[in-house]
Amino acid sequence: MHTTGLAEIVRPRDLAEAVRLAAEGGEPLAGGTDLFVRLRKGVERPPFLVYIGDLPELRRISVGESKVEIGAAATHAEILASPAAARLPILRLALEAIASPAIRAMGTLGGNLANASPAGDGLIPLYLLGARVNLVGPDGERALAVEEFVLGPGKTALRPGEVIRSLDLPFPEGAPRAYFRKVGRRRALIIAIASLGALLWLRDGTIERARLALGSVAPTVVRPREVEQALVGRPLAPDALADLVEALSAATRPISDLRASAGYRRTVAGRLLLDLACTISPGG
């Protein structure tokens, strides 16, 4: 097992230099909470690392009229402490479920996205809010919808030399209710077996609009749009949603691994809909 001799870490002066170093083959390093695990396992051996974790332009969190912009190197803890989390309850719920206080103090939302794990808790709110990913690379800037950015487990649309600059999280219209639940064997420092996040727009106890995002049950986070549609017009009560459990399960493409079997993941993903109905009270 390769345990010693981690790659050299280079500190760029600014974002432009970071992009140049990334184009030379350097792997961007922010919080390192995922990257160092992979480096220590020896599954990835970049020639050198580019530390972007303290570039001021990547750490800004700004709350605008219509959206929140979060710098790629802002840590989960910083985001949770910022007005952005207060304005976006779904973001707060998901980020609070990440790992442990120590990991949240180091890990970044940009890194969580770049890691592109289907189990990434931070990705759920990005999918639900329709976040855009602002990229900067040797050929200039571009922006992608999060669903275009994540291509598969550990796979993204990042081109060589491209770095995530920031994430735009648009405010949803109205005041949807937020739900996030992750299922794992224990509470802290756990990778989800399955997770469900939701935004629900309610009127008089009836669902007017719904967005759902499932984690850990497919190669990427999944938006089950048919179920979202089917929820419209239904009362928010377990009995009224029971017949959609199967449909939600059917939206998954899970694998079996050490943590759980595919069958369990499929079952539980569907049943989280009932947990959602019990957790969100239609009134308040």
Binding site: M1, T3, T4, V37, S100, V183, R185, R186, R187, A188, L189, I190, I193, P238, L258, A260, S261, Y264, T267, V268, R271, L272, L274, D275, C278, T279
Partner: protein
């Protein structure tokens, strides 16, 4: 918290004094095994078998030896073959001699093939990669059922093994102990209940893995500084394996980062010693976390079946307990852990007159099981206490009341004490202290037993329930465990306490200092403890079997009383009074007649320099006269998510009787820590294996233990009793706490949702599957 009762007035015992090693630990002083830098030390590494069962056809080390910095490579071809056991136990050793340092045959993925010593980590790693081994792969046995099947491959077919019960049938050890006629009593009992419970491979996960440094002192003697629970057994077994006179070996145990039984094993010490002897240079070896999981030791996976027979009034008539234990590739602790499954459980319900304990410990081509906190009792209580819950339901009786009707009480005995001992017959004893009734009462009150049980309270998908269990353990091994202590008085009135006893983070150095200080009428800071050094401290079997406070504590007390008599003699001469009229307390000797006094410093100075000069000192030994059981009652509330199968422990109440707690805070810590470890057993932990016997989750990434954020509210409550045979009334506390969580949580899940979880851990997937098969 401790329940206060009118206890005898004591100055030091029962006080939460500062830990004697606390300041140095808190300051991060270099106290642990590998904190010491021995100049020129080589790095030792071990080559592990990639096959579960194979013969080594050939081994070629030439390419590895050619790597610059590689000093030595040991393997079966260049090391003498000396059968031994790695179990650090008393004498005669109850575990089979089925292990050699390097064998031609490998018996599990992780077995030792070769060891390398090199000048750097990198050179050692490269050498491991370049050792060429040709294996002839043999069919592997990956479960106890396969091992016992007719025609199964024989794992221990070597001719020189000794003490294996039936090597041809892969049975390392077997016991069958009947009392009365259990079959008839079961058949005639109007109400019966049965439970079969299973525990998987579990690892101790001490924060500090096994590590050792072997070097030579100025006289060329081999010094082994090691993270061990059993320094004197290390010396004995290393002497055997390396064919060295014991007098050429010194074993030193510094501060230890936890053991939980995994370090009651002699694993790395003989390897480091052999490499050091061959190279003439110091050698250090440290296991990685992966090696700690795979190639140290584990709990014995076990399937235990309990059958209970009772009268309609709830009085137990018969208990039949059968255990099928998986000892893995080697039989270390196989017989004694198996025996303990029955010996530490059956006496608890001594109203049953007809008993039978029988079982086998079976070899498989899987990692080696050994001692683990609870030592078989944990496996036994899981099945016994789930069966008791089932029986209570059949009787229509409150489970609490069923226990109250049947548990052992002060002045009572059980035939099991005499029938089952440390791999042989035990010793009869009566229970002289037992606060279990009080433990049960307090625990039931704290959890709200009457209010919460059988309610099936629901909140959305969450169902709530409460469960309980009882347990006992022992305090040392009667007639076998010996601990000794030496107390030497310094001329300033302070004392040196030298003990072989082994503090592995448990706080025993502090407890033993408190016992000495109490008996000598001084504060703890006047007692300087030096422990676990085979050159400088007297013998002690080490830290296992919940023995230290009781056995080593009694030795300290005896030595202190001897020193106290010597002090009074010197003071009597100084004061010109009779020793009978003198009292020793608060650092001085006072005459109750005249009121005149001399300080201990005066006494020390006088004895050292002035009149009748001599060293005030004493050595005393104690062989465990009995093994008084500590008792505990466990209560918990769980929430079960009926949609996902997730189980959450909401509250856990553990109430224990450890006699007089010498250091209540530390005793509570032991109880709380054991409960948390038990919750890990119940909900999270399980080593998983591939179809070829390779452990697939040997890391904290994939094998989860309870983290600080997972631990529920645990109330650890001590209910004092006064154990008349113990030092200042003390019994043990280290192990009893781990026996409760598995059955208590299983019973609470039943109370919540009506399903019996009998296979640990109770993962969301298993719980959901049980819920679904129940609803059909």
């Amino acid at each position: 918290m401790a329940v206060s009762v009118a206890a005898k007035a004591r100055d030091v015992v029962g006080q939460n004094v500062h830990k004697v090693d606390g300041p140095a630990l808190v300051c991060g002083k270099p106290l642990f095994t590998l904190d010491m830098d021995v100049p020129g030390a080589l790095v030792g590494k071990i080559l592990h078998s990639p096959h579960a069962h194979a013969m080594i056809e050939a081994i070629d080390t030439s390419a590895a030896e050619a790597i610059p910095g590689v000093a030595c490579i040991l393997h079966f071809g260049n090391v003498p073959r000396i059968p031994h056991t790695t179990a650090g136990q008393g004498w005669p050793e109850p575990s089979p001699y089925d292990t050699v340092l390097f064998d031609r045959k490998v018996r599990y993925v992780g077995d030792r093939v070769a060891a390398v010593a090199a000048t750097s980590e990198e050179a050692a790693d490269e050498a491991l990669r370049k050792i060429r081994v040709e294996y002839k792969v043999l069919p592997a046995v990956l479960s106890v059922d396969e091992a016992l099947a007719p025609g199964a491959p024989v794992i221990h077919d070597e001719p020189d093994a000794e003490g294996i019960y039936d090597a041809q049938r892969n049975i390392a050890a077997a016991v069958d102990i009947p009392v009365g006629d259990v079959d008839r009593a079961l058949a005639e009992s109007p109400v019966t209940a049965e439970a079969t419970c299973e525990i998987p491979y579990l690892q101790h996960t001490p924060i500090e893995p096994h590590c050792v440094i072997a070097y030579f002192d100025e006289d060329g003697r081999l010094v082994i500084r090691t993270s061990t629970q059993v320094p004197f057994h290390v010396r004995r077994i290393v002497a055997r394996v390396l064919a060295l006179p014991m007098s050429r070996i010194r074993v030193v145990k510094p501060r230890i980062g936890g053991g939980f039984g995994a370090k009651q094993e002699i694993i790395l010490e003989p390897v480091a010693g052999a490499l050091a002897l061959r190279t003439g240079r110091p050698v250090r070896i440290a296991y990685t976390r992966e090696e700690e999981f795979v190639a140290s030791r584990t709990r014995h996976p076990m399937r235990v079946t309990v059958k209970l027979g009772a009268g309609r009034d709830g009085t137990l008539r018969a208990i039949d307990m059968e255990a099928l234990s998986n000892t893995g590739a080697y039989g270390t602790h196989s017989l004694t852990v198996l025996s303990n499954v029955g010996s530490k459980t059956l006496p608890l319900y001594n109203k049953a007159r007809h008993l039978r304990f029988h079982g086998k410990a079976v070899y498989t081509n899987l990692p080696v099981a050994g001692a683990y906190r609870g030592y078989g009792a944990t496996q036994g209580y899981f099945a016994l206490e789930v069966a008791m819950d089932i029986l209570a339901e059949k009787l229509g009786l409150d489970p609490l009341e069923l226990r109250q009707r049947n548990h052992i009480r002060v002045g009572e005995t059980s035939p099991i004490f005499e029938k089952i001992g440390e791999g042989r017959e035990g010793k009869a004893q009566i229970v002289r202290s037992c606060a279990l009734p009080e433990c049960l009462r307090i625990g039931a009150e704290r959890i709200g037993w009457k209010r919460n049980r059988g309610r099936r309270r629901r909140e959305g998908p969450w169902a709530y329930g409460v469960g309980m269990a009882c347990a006992m353990q022992g305090s040392g091994i009667t007639g076998i465990d010996m601990g000794a202590a030496t107390i030497v008085m310094n001329e300033d009135g302070s004392f040196r306490l030298l003990v072989g006893a082994t503090d592995l983070g448990t706080g025993s150095d502090t407890v033993l200092a408190q016992i000495a200080a109490e008996a000598l009428g001084v504060s703890v800071d006047k007692v300087l403890v030096y422990s676990s050094d085979t050159d400088f401290t007297p013998f002690d079997v080490g830290a296992y079997a919940s023995s230290t406070t009781y056995v080593s504590g009694l030795a300290v007390l005896k030595a202190a009383e001897d020193v106290r008599r010597q002090i009074l003699d010197v003071a009597a001469a100084a004061l010109e009074e009779a020793p009978e009229d003198l009292e020793l307390s608060q650092g001085a000797v006072r005459s109750v007649r005249s009121g005149r006094a001399v300080t201990l410093a005066d006494v020390g100075h006088r004895a050292t320099y002035v009149v009748d000069q001599h060293q005030i000192a004493a050595t005393a030994s104690c062989v465990a006269p009995e093994s008084p059981p500590p008792f505990a009652a466990f209560f918990c509330e769980v929430a079960v998510d009926t949609e996902t199968g997730l189980v959450r422990v909401e509250r856990f109440v553990a109430v224990a009787d450890c006699g007089v707690a010498i250091h209540p805070k530390q005793a509570e810590g032991q109880l709380e820590g054991a409960v948390v470890q038990g919750i890990g057993h119940a909900l999270y932990e399980e080593m998983l294996f591939s179809g070829r016997g390779r452990c697939v989750n040997p890391s904290f990434f994939d094998y989860k233990i309870p983290s600080a954020l997972d631990v529920p509210e645990v109330e650890a409550i001590l209910v004092p009793s006064e154990e008349p045979t113990g030092p200042f009334g003390a019994k043990s506390i280290a192990e009893v706490g781990i026996n409760g969580p598995l059955p208590a949580i299983s019973n609470a899940i039943y109370d919540a949702v009506g399903i019996r979880l009998t296979r640990a851990p109770f993962t969301p997937e298993r719980v959901l599957s049980a819920l679904r098969s129940r609803t059909g």
